[in-house]
């Protein structure tokens, strides 16, 4: 029913997301709408259309169903709260007695309820069923209403009102086939109503006896501009309620495989805060994820890759390139920037247009999934790995001239290794086909990967176009931070130099460098209360951040260990010295431990306790142990150098 619904839509503003679970459409009787502006849930009742009933069950009806007929869905395991965003549009509903004839109406937006359906049999709907569900969770609210909708809603008759005294806790609202207002209108009214009589429980009754003519539309609409809400004033003894019927698609009670689920993370309910001061701003810019306008220090590599890809695109040929470098040297970022520039050039019609796809060896569960992902990104088709391989093979060897070149980035190439290497073979073989027009850029960490793991026929197809990204030097790292900060004065000059020199000496990983800077800004923020601080990140802050990240915790761990644990480490060293080996059984160490206990004037401990001490040291990997079921026979090794232990214990 989805296609029809889409074409029927009159208020596109009301449609946000459609659930793609099932082709089933349910109708929803909206009984109450949220109230406090935060939650976006509506409490609903479910209805089914004729087309959604199982065909073989239709004969239970005993008559031809009316095309406009819907059935009250009695299903207890249905969630009666739905996301407001899934509401499509309002329609009219009329409750008819089961013997009443269907009225003649050409209005497609009017629907009739006679019977209920509990997934097995039909039943009679009595009007009390249409009551609102118990109050409880129903006090919820909508987001800011769309102004356009509100306008529309107020133009149509907003029917129905009810009579009730404010003192009356139960305000009843009788009404029938209601002209529907936008659901959001209701929320505004509800809010207004409850503001006056808090805790009022509304009851709704659908009955065909009352026609909406009995009630007069209140023309007292006024807009509260500062909030963008439409309020309908309610006079003293009147409460306004509207029953909206909504289209909604959800999963039915019984789980069905979701075929068209959209991958998405829920939307956050509050705005993100913008950085408030210089340090926060600096931190946001220094986050690895923030994409800089241009990548400094990789100009040469950028140029090489750019001209390689560009020439292939212009010549309508294919080719491979292998890019290597240790992690955090900007390989993927550079390739992405190249593609961005090329895309820009293609938009300006300087070069022919091309199609860019990207796969990552780490982002798949199995090397053969590469075929599936490539096929899906090229054509949107889904297939099994084998089938996808066949389809791709056909596609790339096909003689039919293709419109545009495909540029493919294969990240973490080493993970696509299989025993027969057919995935790699295919990746490098396709570009060599005459009509493939495929450019493959591969990225991995090790420079000699082709020689090390590829068999000859694969390595030869990869070709000799290689490039290696050297780790950043300290000057380059400094430049990277400077360019990210973009003249924002948050760091002292020396502090930056210290970070970049330290990281350059260790790994040359730009990610590390940025992380340290970020941590340093935090430390600086904490010490801001200190009157001597300048508000800039200084040497001391950077030193602290460096220490946190690079210092090993072993020594502190030994210092913080309990007395018996420390003694056990000493006993282990003593036993190693005696044996002249780096390994001993627990039994041997334990003898030493008992002796040490006596020397230290402590009460010797039992074997069970000794084993527990040993296990604790093993758990935090100060010791390396054999599996514990071996008991006293398990072998023990140290995971720290003996000097470290002596140093840690001596300082006490």
């Amino acid at each position: 029913g989805l296609a029809i619904l889409r074409t029927n839509l009159k208020w596109p503003n009301l449609i946000f997301t459609l659930f793609h679970f099932e082709t089933l459409t349910f109708f929803v009787l909206c009984l109450s709408l949220p109230e406090n502006g935060q939650q976006m849930k509506a409490v609903v009742q479910w209805f089914m259309r004729v087309s959604e009933l199982p065909v073989n069950k239709l004969k239970l009806l005993g008559r031809e169903p009316h095309p406009q007929e819907i059935f009250y869905y009695e299903c207890r395991n249905c969630d009666n709260e739905v996301n407001v965003e899934s509401i499509l549009r309002p329609v009219k509903v009329k409750h008819l007695d089961s013997n009443d004839p269907f009225p003649d109406s050409s209005d497609k937006d009017t629907l009739y309820v006679k019977l209920s359906w509990d997934s097995k049999v039909f039943g009679v709907v009595n009007s009390t069923v249409m009551e609102s569900p118990a109050e409880g969770p129903s006090r919820r609210v909508l987001p800011t209403p769309d102004h356009a909708i509100m306008q529309k809603a107020s133009l149509g008759e907003v029917g129905c009102s009810s009579v009730g005294t404010p003192a009356n806790v139960e305000a009843e609202s009788l009404h029938s086939a209601t002209k529907l207002s936008a659901s959001k209108c209701l929320s505004a009214k509800r809010r207004n109503a409850t503001a006056r009589t808090p805790g009022v429980r509304k009851r709704l009754e659908l009955s065909s006896e009352c026609s909406h003519k009995d009630f007069k539309m209140q023309p007292l609409c006024r807009t509260r501009e500062q909030q963008g809400f439409l309020y309908i004033s309610n006079t003293k003894n009147h409460h306004f309620l509207t029953v909206s019927l909504l289209f909604l698609q959800i999963s039915p009670g019984t789980p069905k495989t979701p075929r068209h689920a959209t991958p998405s993370i829920p939307i956050r309910s509050l705005q993100t805060q913008q950085p408030a001061n210089i340090l926060e701003e600096a931190r946001a810019r220094l986050h690895v994820s923030s994409v800089p306008e241009s990548l400094p220090c990789r100009e040469q590599e950028f140029q090489d890759i750019y001209s390689f890809v560009e020439s292939k695109i212009i010549d309508n040929t294919g080719g491979c390139m292998y890019i290597s470098g240790v992690p955090g040297t900007g390989k993927t970022a550079t390739v992405h920037e190249v593609i961005r520039c090329l895309q820009h050039a293609a938009d300006m019609d300087e070069i022919p247009s091309f199609h860019f796809i990207e796969i990552n060896g780490m982002k798949m569960t199995d090397p053969h999934q590469a075929y599936v992902q490539i096929l899906q990104k090229l054509t949107g088709q889904k297939a099994t790995p084998d089938h996808a391989a066949v389809l791709l093979e056909k596609r790339f060897s096909n003689l039919a001239p293709r419109k545009e070149t495909i540029v493919m980035l294969v990240d973490e190439l080493d993970l696509l290794w299989t025993r027969k290497q057919n995935v790699m073979y295919n990746l490098f073989d396709w570009p060599t086909r005459r009509h493939a027009r495929l450019v493959v850029l591969t990225i991995a960490n090790t420079m000699d990967l082709p020689e090390r793991i590829m068999i000859n026929r694969v390595a030869s197809r990869l070709g000799l176009t290689r490039m290696s990204f050297q780790p950043y030097s300290f000057k380059q790292l400094q430049e990277i931070i400077m360019s990210r900060l973009n003249k924002l004065k948050a760091f002292e000059e020396d502090a930056l130099q210290l970070v970049s020199r330290k990281v350059a000496a260790l790994s040359g990983d730009a990610r590390r460098c940025l992380d340290i800077c970020r941590r340093a800004t935090e430390i600086c923020e904490h010490s801001a209360a200190d009157p001597s601080s300048t508000g800039l990140v200084g040497m001391s802050h950077v030193m602290e951040a460096l220490n946190e990240m690079f210092s090993s915790a072993y020594i502190t761990a030994i210092r913080c260990a309990s007395t018996q644990e420390q003694l056990f480490l000493r006993a282990a060293i003593a036993e190693f010295r005696r044996l002249g080996l780096e390994e001993a059984t627990f039994q041997q160490v334990f003898v030493q431990h008992q002796a040490l206990c006596r020397i230290e004037g402590l009460r010797p401990i039992g074997v069970s306790e000794g084993l527990a001490v040993c296990q604790r040291l093993g758990a935090c990997r100060l010791l390396l142990l054999e599996p514990s079921h071996l008991g006293v026979l398990q072998h023990i090794r140290l995971n720290v150098s003996q000097d470290d232990i002596f140093y840690a214990l001596k300082a006490d």
């Binding site: 495989t257 956050r268 990610r511 590390r512 946190e548 761990a557 260990a561």
Partner: protein
């Protein structure tokens, strides 16, 4: 009253003063993820029982109290012991996030589809609009053993790229956890580590005992509470109690073992005896330190005990070389010839049965690599008991014949 004290244990899960700094660090970090949408990753490292999970829970509790954060943070909790591979971990993440391929409690699709789906979902998000997700990985080190470390790579990669904001918090007791990470995974991890190492001294330890045992002011029966608290105070000042606690403190600074000890004490309190006596603590401590294997020796028959003693002598003579049944039996026979008055020889099958029983109790264990083809009498074995355990057990063995005892004590069989 007991209930109240038990609650005290739970209530007292407040962060110790020494952790306040790291607590604030973690709180700030997670709050920034929730409010600013900044992705982060952090590891909490510390020995078992140091309070890692408690710290995290405290931080999360504080975080939930804040209005801004409350509805703005999705949480995913994983444990390395439960999610033993990436397949189950992914299903669990998808389930806990209620993504759209979840119906009821079931997650649909294959492993590959799940991964692609989750990554697509995270990739579609961005800093300002999607809801931040907090991933808590308990026993983080076990996740590093998953194939290719796919899950870790992807989580860290998301946390370092402009996708949906996430915070990854790993909890582990291994100090060398970073060495387990692959190079490219390690590079994507932000290297924030929070080390929880308690430098607690004995006075603080005693204070902790005191606060754990004393009744809160809110206790309904004021008079009883006063008496009880006074009782606890005298208990804590007792010399023997202090000695026992010192011994526990020396063995481990872990609060869990302390709670265990105090619980044992507390369970001995009744209406008739409404105070904890120092003797209770001593008894509880004795139970805590009891040697499990030595206890097992008390249940052996006299023949089995004799075999164990024979094995001990063999170990003395051959300096821990493995033995077999035949050797043990010979040693036993030597003893019978020379000294025994109360014991007489058993048939070979009976001795064999006793020997097998010892093996079942894992008091002796076959040497690795000795093949099963060897006849059972000649299979090489090792003793998994320490001599001190044997001597201990012998002292307490009910009605042990004196000649057997003497044989055990003598230097040579």
């Amino acid at each position: 009253m007991k209930k109240s004290l038990q609650e005290n244990h739970r209530e007292n899960q407040n962060v110790p003063v020494s952790y306040h700094c790291v607590c604030r660090h973690l709180l700030e970090l997670l709050r920034r993820t929730a409010i600013h949408g900044e992705s982060n990753s952090v590891l909490i490292v510390g020995p078992r029982g140091a309070g890692k999970t408690m710290l995290l829970q405290c931080v999360l509790r504080d975080l939930q109290k804040e209005e801004k954060v409350q509805k703005n943070l999705l949480q995913v909790h994983l444990s390395g012991l439960l999610q033993t591979d990436d397949r189950t971990a992914l299903k669990e993440i998808t389930r806990q996030l209620h993504l759209e391929n979840v119906v009821g409690d079931k997650v649909f699709g294959s492993f590959a589809e799940n991964l692609a789906f989750l990554l697509e979902a995270l990739k579609k998000g961005n800093r300002s609009s999607s809801c931040p997700v907090l991933f808590v990985l308990d026993e983080f080190d076990l996740f590093a053993h998953h194939k290719n470390q796919t899950l870790l790579y992807n989580l860290f990669d998301v946390s370092q790229s402009a996708q949906a904001p996430i915070a990854v918090v790993g909890v582990t007791c291994r100090l060398d956890v970073l060495e387990l990470l692959e190079k490219r995974v390690k590079s994507r991890f932000s290297h924030r580590q929070i080390h929880l190492l308690s430098s607690l001294n004995f006075t603080q330890y005693l204070e902790r005992v005191w606060t754990q045992l004393s009744l809160p002011d809110s206790f309904p029966d004021k008079k009883f509470a006063q008496e009880w608290n006074a009782g606890v105070k005298t208990l804590c000042e007792d010399k023997s109690v202090e000695e026992v606690l010192q011994r526990h403190f020396n063995s481990s600074k872990d609060f869990r073992s302390l709670h265990m000890l105090l619980m044992l004490c507390l369970s001995r309190v009744s209406v008739a005896k409404p105070t904890i006596k120092p003797a209770d603590l001593l008894e509880a401590s004795r139970m805590c330190f009891a040697d499990a294997t030595a206890n097992m020796l008390h249940g052996l028959s006299i023949l089995e005990l004799c075999l164990v003693i024979a094995i001990k002598h063999l170990n003395d003579v051959y300096e821990g070389e493995p033995f077999n049944l035949q050797m043990v039996h010979n040693e036993f026979k030597k003893f019978l010839h020379r000294k025994s008055n109360s014991m007489y020889n058993f048939e070979q099958p009976v001795v064999m049965k006793a020997f097998e029983h010892l093996q079942q109790l894992e008091l002796i264990r076959p040497v690795d690599g000795s093949s099963a083809k060897v006849q059972r009498e000649y299979q090489l074995m090792r003793l998994t008991l320490d001599h001190s355990q044997i001597m201990d057990a012998l002292q307490k063995y009910p009605q042990c014949p004196t000649d057997v005892k003497q044989w055990a004590m003598s230097a040579f069989g």
